[in-house]
Amino acid sequence: MRGVLTGDRYVWQKKRLNRTFSALKENKLAAVGLIIISVLVLMAVFAPLITLRDPYEQNLEIRLTGSNEKYLMGTDQFGRCLFSRLIYGIRISLTTGVISAVLTMGIGVFTGLLAGYFGGIMDELIMRITDIVLSFPSIVLTLVIAGVLGPDLKNIIIALAAVGWTKYARVVRGSVLSIKEQEYVESAKALGASDIYLLCRHILPNCMGPVIVIMTLSIGGAILSIAGLSFLGLGAQPPTPEWGMMLNQGVPFMRRAPHLTIFPGLAIMITVLAFNFLGDGLRDIMDPRLKSKLFQKF
């Protein structure tokens, strides 16, 4: 009997997975995003195989050359291979982006759950704090925190998390409040379930949909912010091959070597775009309102 059931279960899960995939297939933008991200990840992992040169290797004799057969994208002001630096830059941007997004989400979801589920003073307190944090334009606060802590990638991640968690906390709180009213939660309560059980089994899984969407979108946002702050000189320090910083260093040579400005920016945009594609697509797939709306018409 067990075998039968698990067998069935397997089939159903497979069907469900297939459905998500087919939804992805239909949503072309999301699929494109996913493909770009996969390619980027592969490139980051196999960076040494793809690039021919060490991203740190300087060769002052061939400074600021344009693209040629030896250097795909030319060289920078120290004669380093721009292409290698960009590829290694993927590692930095992706890891910092993902780490800061996950960290931010963790804090936000936790506080949001607390506020939404327990309500009362806890809710009041957390929501007032989010109100206050949200009263600052977020880059300004991030800039100041990161700047005061000292220019370092790690500090930027901390600053981003310290400011960004409020977004999740609000969303999670909102969905917890509505899920809490759902009858299945009430009936589980009537069955004698404990708070932790309710939270883990019923509430958390049902409010993760929007969270995942926001997280996908905010990985893109985090990459943008990190690049921006690095551009302002607050993040990665030379000679790290970080895109924002590379852009910054290219500015003085804008007239002579525009490729130093164009390519890193392009790299940032493509990466962020991929996450935005995916996030948008996920939102369309997951948004139950859209589906039920279609259904109501019959």
Binding site: E26, L294, K297, F298
Partner: protein, 333 residues
């Protein structure tokens, strides 16, 4: 009296991700001038879609085939611009859900006046006056003040009245009331029935009442058409349908009313994507025979004004005890 609306072989389907939903499958329906036709059916049988098909208000993924002849004019092929002239002026809709069918950011007076302005070409000032008069006639206390209010300040019954007022403001010849009593308590339901009755008395309009509630239909309608899985399965004068239902589904529907002992119809309504072959009702029918699974019965005239879609309509004509009565009767189980 001539035919006001003559629907022939109407088919409406939707293309969705899960397949083609055939909401209306070859419906023939005739509405004569001045009568109240009740379209009765359960959730998902396509009755609301039928109403929207007449108005040409379906979403873009819908496909409509067949003819809807209104005063001899076929509405199905009509371009949007032409059909707009019909809407509101000739055929008006009283939409399903009063709480979401009024625009939340516009004053109700304006929403009613808009119809006067548009359909009767009244200047705004006069249209407003007319709107207030209209509200007054629907028993609105202090209509001048009420007209300045927003929908969320009104009770459900009042919103329903505003919608009714909007419906008849254009002096239409045909009113389509889509599920006016859905999800309402008995007392409010009676109020709504009362509103509709007033409407009919006042305008002498023809009405198509779409409802799932046999009781509401029975106290308002001259004729009833019962719909199941996108088809009309039985139609005729209200009294005949209720006292002598011929189709097994109609009988089941009547028997499952609480006042008739809640005798259920077994099974579930079929999905409109995969309809059963043959008679659409046969999987749930107690009297289903072999033929029912293959032959698709036609809507045949059985009696004066009555039509039934069942292979066995003749044998089934035995009048059982009067099934429908108003008072509560307790049964043993």
């Amino acid at each position: 009296m001539g035919y006001l609306l003559n629907i022939e072989n109407l088919e409406t389907s939707f293309n969705t991700g899960d397949g083609v939903v055939k909401a209306v499958n070859g419906v023939d329906l005739v509405i004569e001038e001045g009568e109240i036709m009740g379209l009765v059916g359960e959730t998902g049988c396509g009755k609301s879609v039928l109403g929207l098909s007449i108005m040409g208000l379906l979403p873009t993924n819908a496909e409509v085939k067949g003819t809807i002849a209104y005063k001899g004019l076929n509405l199905t092929g009509l371009p949007e611009k032409e059909i707009r002239k019909i809407r509101g002026k000739e055929i008006a809709l009283i939409p399903q859900n009063p709480s979401t069918s009024l625009n939340p950011v516009l004053k109700i007076g304006f929403q009613v006046a808009e119809v006067f302005h548009l359909q009767q070409r009244l200047p705004w000032k006069k249209a407003r006056q007319a709107a207030i008069e209209m509200l007054r006639s629907f028993d609105f206390p202090d209509p001048g003040k009420r007209a300045e209010e927003y929908p969320h300040q009104l009770s459900g019954g009042m919103k329903q009245r505003v919608l009714a007022a909007m419906g008849i403001a254009g002096e239409p010849s045909l009113l389509i009331a889509d599920e006016p009593t859905k999800g309402l308590d008995a007392l409010i339901r009676i109020q709504v029935v009362e509103i509709l009755r007033q409407l009919v008395l006042r305008t002498s309009a023809t009405m198509l009442l779409i409802t799932h509630d046999l009781k509401v239909a029975s106290c308002l309608c001259d004729k009833i058409a019962v719909m199941y899985a996108g088809e009309i399965i039985e139609t005729g004068p209200t009294r005949d349908i209720l006292s002598l239902p011929r189709h097994p589904y109609t009988r089941g529907l009547i028997a499952s009313l609480p006042s008739n002992g809640l005798v259920p119809v077994r099974g579930l309504s079929p999905s409109l994507i995969e309809l059963p072959a043959g008679c659409k009702f046969h999987p749930r029918c107690n009297q289903a025979a072999k033929d029912c699974a293959q032959k698709h019965p036609r809507l045949e005239i059985v009696d004066d004004g009555c039509k039934v879609r069942c292979l066995f309509n003749d044998q089934n004509c035995k009048p059982e005890k009067k099934l429908f009565h108003g008072s509560f009767q307790k049964e043993a189980g």
